[in-house]
């Protein structure tokens, strides 16, 4: 049974906490503060909250200027529209290694009603291709809080964090053990190792339970740091398993699937299937789960795909 938590409530709660401790923390938004959760920070610290209006390119440039002046900016917006500022992120934040954290909400299938225009399925691929970018995609409420804290307090340099909306599937009971650059083995792999990000970590855990009833021992790895990816651990885990699987709310090209495929192909470490959204755009759906099911990414969908791929791999 999956339990949903809210990414944006995690954003509101941790940013307001950090604002108490860090005088130099400035939060910017492109007029989406009511939706991203940044407005809670703005209400508590109006002097350190900047709404630049509906202008994502200007948002990134303004954040760059604040970082140049020595402050600690967090720039927020919807993932899809922050990609309008791909080039500003690449040419200014990354090229000059500025200390700006870009936190994107509403990524993947999470804005299920809004449809294809709002469902960002390419942002991991874009951000991962930029030299020196750190790319993080937390699974649930607690890990989002922990990783925002780590990103803002400890990480110096450009970082992209991908979050959904209210579709954080509960995985962790506390906030311990997360670090930028890390991953987490949530369930030990035997036959199959499933690498997942975001809400798909929780979905994959449920899938692993289903698979267990069918005699298949599948482990789940939360690859919350998509870049730099922990390739040593991935090669080690995949070498010991019959089948590797990636699951993400993202295009199967260029995101987690692409990253793991690159690692495994170069190491010659086993067989991989990539689950996600394959070569298509999203679509409107009254409920999140209906949309996830249509993309084959519910626990049952993941379990049956893994089962048949494992049968093929064993043949």
């Amino acid at each position: 049974m999956v339990v949903f938590e809210s990414y944006r409530r995690a954003v509101s709660s941790i940013l307001t906490e950090l604002g108490d401790r860090l005088d130099d923390l400035v939060v910017l938004d492109a007029d989406t503060g009511r939706s991203t959760g940044s407005l809670a920070f703005g209400k508590k610290f109006p002097g350190r909250y900047v709404n630049v209006g509906i202008s994502e390119q200007d948002l990134i440039g303004t954040a760059a200027g604040l970082a140049l002046a020595g402050l600690r900016p967090v720039a927020m917006g919807f993932a899809m529209f922050l990609m309008r500022a791909f080039e500003q992120i690449r040419n200014t934040l990354a090229r000059d290694r500025l200390n700006v954290k870009v936190i994107a909400t509403h990524a993947g299938l999470s804005p299920h009603i809004d449809g294809a225009s709002h469902q960002s399925l390419e942002d991991l691929a874009l951000m991962r291709s930029i030299p020196g970018m750190t790319v993080v995609s937390p699974a649930d409420f607690n890990s989002t809080r922990a990783l925002i804290r780590a990103a803002v307090e400890d990480h110096v340099g450009p970082l992209y964090m991908r979050l959904g909306r209210d579709n954080a599937v509960h995985v962790y009971d506390d906030e311990e053990g997360f670090r930028i650059g890390g991953l987490r083995i949530v369930r030990d792999p035997v036959d199959v190792v499933v690498y997942a990000v975001g809400p798909m970590v929780g979905m994959s855990l449920e899938a692993a339970k289903i698979l267990e009833t069918r005699g298949i021992k599948a482990g789940v790895v939360d690859v919350y740091t998509v870049k730099p990816i922990d390739s040593d651990t991935i090669v080690k885990l995949s070498s010991r398993s019959i089948l590797s699987v990636t699951v993400e709310e993202h295009n199967t090209a260029g995101g987690l699937g692409g990253a793991v495929a690159e690692v495994l192909a170069e190491a010659g470490a086993g067989r991989l299937i990539r689950m996600g959204v394959h070569e298509r755009f999203g679509t409107s759906s009254k409920t999140y789960l209906d949309l996830v099911e249509a993309m084959g990414l519910t626990p049952r969908g993941i379990a049956s795909r893994v089962e048949s791929a494992l049968a093929t791999a064993r043949r």
Binding site: D24, V26, G47, R48, V50, V52, G53, S55, Q57, D58, I60, G61, T62, A63, A64, G65, L66, A67, L68, A69, G70, L71, P73, E87, Q88, N91, T92, R95, D96
Partner: protein
Amino acid sequence: MRGDGAPISRLGGGSPSQALSDLVSSASSTLDGAWALFEDLASNGSAWHVGSSRSALNIIAAVFGVWIPRGHDLGIKRFGLLSKGHASMALYTWLAASRMIPIEELKSYLRLGSRLQAHPEAFRVPGIIVSTGSLGQGLSIANGIALASRIDGVPREVAVILGDGELDEGQVWEAVATTSSKRLSNVTAIVDRNMTQHTGRTEEVKAKEPLEDRWRSFGWHVVTVRNTFDEIVAALEEASTVDMPVVVIVRPRS
């Protein structure tokens, strides 16, 4: 020279402080040297976006040679951003004439391994705090630096040099609106209105006029000057006394 507010007190016409007149005369003779280096570089096979650099050199001299050092004397942190990064010939010949980089180094311009990149990169050459090259982005960055002063109380002023062709970029107008909405009077934009962009005359490619009205309608104080060192210096002096964002539009001399 036209201005919206009080007329600009022309240099020598008012009573500029001694420090300012010293800065101006020193920068003025450095500028003569920069022009000589510029023409050398242009004729020695390293000509690159020459027209854009030629119209920018007086502006660069006024910003980096007078306005920024003047800020130092006044206890204000001033920053110059070259949003039209392709005017690098002007920047580097200015820096060489100021002895901020060795004159010899100009020979390495555009060559593999040189720090004199076609588009200036942050902290590789003196005075450049942010890399540019992609047009339309400098004013947003200037706004961020200016906003920081409101948060940490450190006085800062930013001058950002834009091309007129660059104004085609939508982000410029996102930022123009931000500057005035946030009342960032410590931002000064300088538009190098040389009437030319990559494929031809600006008014034929995409009209910029009425340019002063466009900026004014966004809530900026507009000062128009001719492209002479003295007029640009005077306009920047005025800009720092105006309690709203100022754009200096630098039009051709004739």
